[in-house]
Amino acid sequence: MSIIRDTKGILLGMWTTWKRIFRRPLTIQYPEIKRVPYPRFRARIVLTRDPDGGERCVACYLCSAACPVDCISMQSAEREDGRRYAPWFRINFARCIYCGLCAEACPTMAIQMTPEYEFCTRNIMSLVYEKEDLLIDGCGKSPDYNFYRHAGIGVTQPRGEGLNEEPPLDMRSLQP
């Protein structure tokens, strides 16, 4: 009989919702109770420094190219010693979707995501962060990594003295 089945269906549903009324709500009451996000949570972006204190970013534009919403812009320049850097570096957090693709694309680990999520504001222009706002005094994740120690040949160290780098081989010594 369909009428018995339908009535049972309705009553069962009502019973289920009745039980729900007395459960503790799952909602976290945000401003009073703040969740501590996991360390790898993707929120505000920072530019980190290498262990020696130099800027990691080499202004390679890879993050800018990877960004799906095009919110990273910068200019590249070169110091006298040949080390590349960004004279200005800008992230528009009003556009950023916190996808983390920039951090993934970065070859120098300069651009990194942090778990700090509370920086919304009513003034949308103040969400455009300049390099001074982004740069931190620290290495963030992977504190030992120093891009120039691996690849900065001729800039920070002569050939053969980089990390995991074998000394240059004298070709002639290989000849028979």
Binding site: I10, G13, M14, T16, T17, W18, R20, I21, F22, R23, R24, P25, L26, T27, Q29
Partner: protein, 332 residues
């Protein structure tokens, strides 16, 4: 019959008090609904404005008052302005028919706990609820929007259909109470509530009033998923507020009427009558909210099918059975 000043003052005082109480109840019913729906979905609902969100209705009211009142281009101006009132006024008028307590005595005169006690009270209730259709119909039509029009066409068909089952389900009540007067219907239930004699009529009436209030599972005139907000899509600000408040007053009024017709009105042991009435009426309001938190929306054809092919025949058979019963047993 002659009136003096005290009579008139009492009458006006009564109306003012009832009006205020009903508006307050409606405002807090909105809050109760939001909180309860929240609980059903394991969230809190509004709890920010004031302690436990108790000032939320006031905040909402202020918001509605100061919002811009938009009239869509091509709308029929006067009907567009008229429709919300047409929806809200019948609901308030229905409240005036409900007896919600035993008569009390003020200044040495009996004061009935009811605004008007007409000998055609029940019919007047049906009349008002059939007038409420115009708010839906004109509001949707005058907005000059296809969603609104669809909503109001659906609303018209639904409300007319369920009015019939509502009327038919009340016939056994009249037969048992032998009166159209609401106070006499209440008095007839002093010994036994009509729900005991007429469970089927009660069920049909309950289903019909849910449909009359256009609430889930019968909310196809304002189905959010397909019609934005149905007949009041184009309304904003105070006019939307009128529709909204009208809906909640309607819930309270129809809940109170269901209590009056089937649950013995304000009769009850121990507690004072007014409290009993409020408990019963608000229990219906709670049921409405609970239903909304549970059931999905019916499809239009299911709705019509259910009304005309299930409820109407059952209601007619119920009337017939009641008639035979009264004839044979000779009750009353």
């Amino acid at each position: 019959m002659s009136y003096d000043l005290i009579d008139i003052a009492l009458a006006f005082g009564k109306i003012a008090v009832i009006f205020m109480v009903i508006l307050l109840l409606a405002a807090y019913l909105v809050l109760a609904e939001r909180v309860l729906l929240g609980r059903i979905q394991e969230r809190f609902g509004p709890n920010r404005v004031g302690p436990f969100g108790l000032l939320q209705p006031i905040a909402d009211g202020i918001k509605m008052l100061v919002k811009e009142d938009v009239k869509p281009a091509g709308a029929d101006k006067w009907l567009f302005y008229l429709a919300p009132a047409m929806a809200a006024i019948p609901a308030i008028m229905i409240v005036s028919l409900i007896p919600f307590g035993a008569p009390l005595t003020f200044f040495g005169r009996p004061v009935g706990m009811q605004v008007v006690d007409l000998n055609v009270g029940l019919l007047l209730f049906i009349g008002f609820s059939s007038i409420a259709v115009y708010g839906v119909a004109l509001g949707g039509w005058a907005s000059n929007s296809k969603y609104s029009l669809l909503g109001s066409v659906r609303g018209l068909a639904q409300l007319i259909s369920y009015e019939i089952t509502m009327g038919l389900s009340l016939v056994p009540v009249v037969m048992l109470a032998r009166s159209f007067q609401l106070s006499e219907i209440v008095d007839a239930q002093k010994t036994g509530w009509f729900i005991l004699y007429q469970p089927i009529a009660f069920l049909i009436f309950l289903i019909s009033i849910v449909a009359e209030c256009r609430r889930i599972p019968f909310d196809i005139p304002e189905a959010e998923g397909e019609l934005v907000a149905g007949f009041h899509t184009e309304y904003s600000g105070l006019r939307f507020g009128l529709f909204f408040v009208g809906e909640y007053i309607n819930i309270i009024a129809l809940g109170g009427l269901a209590a009056t017709f089937f649950l013995g009105g304000w009769h009850g042991p121990l507690l004072p009558p007014v409290l009993w009435f409020l408990i019963k009426a608000l229990a219906f309001a709670f049921l409405f909210i609970w239903l909304r938190g549970t059931l999905p929306r019916l499809r239009y054809d299911q709705l019509m099918h259910f009304c005309w092919k299930v409820l109407t025949p059952v209601a007619l058979l119920n009337i017939l059975a009641t008639g035979w019963f009264i004839l044979l047993v000779g009750k009353g």
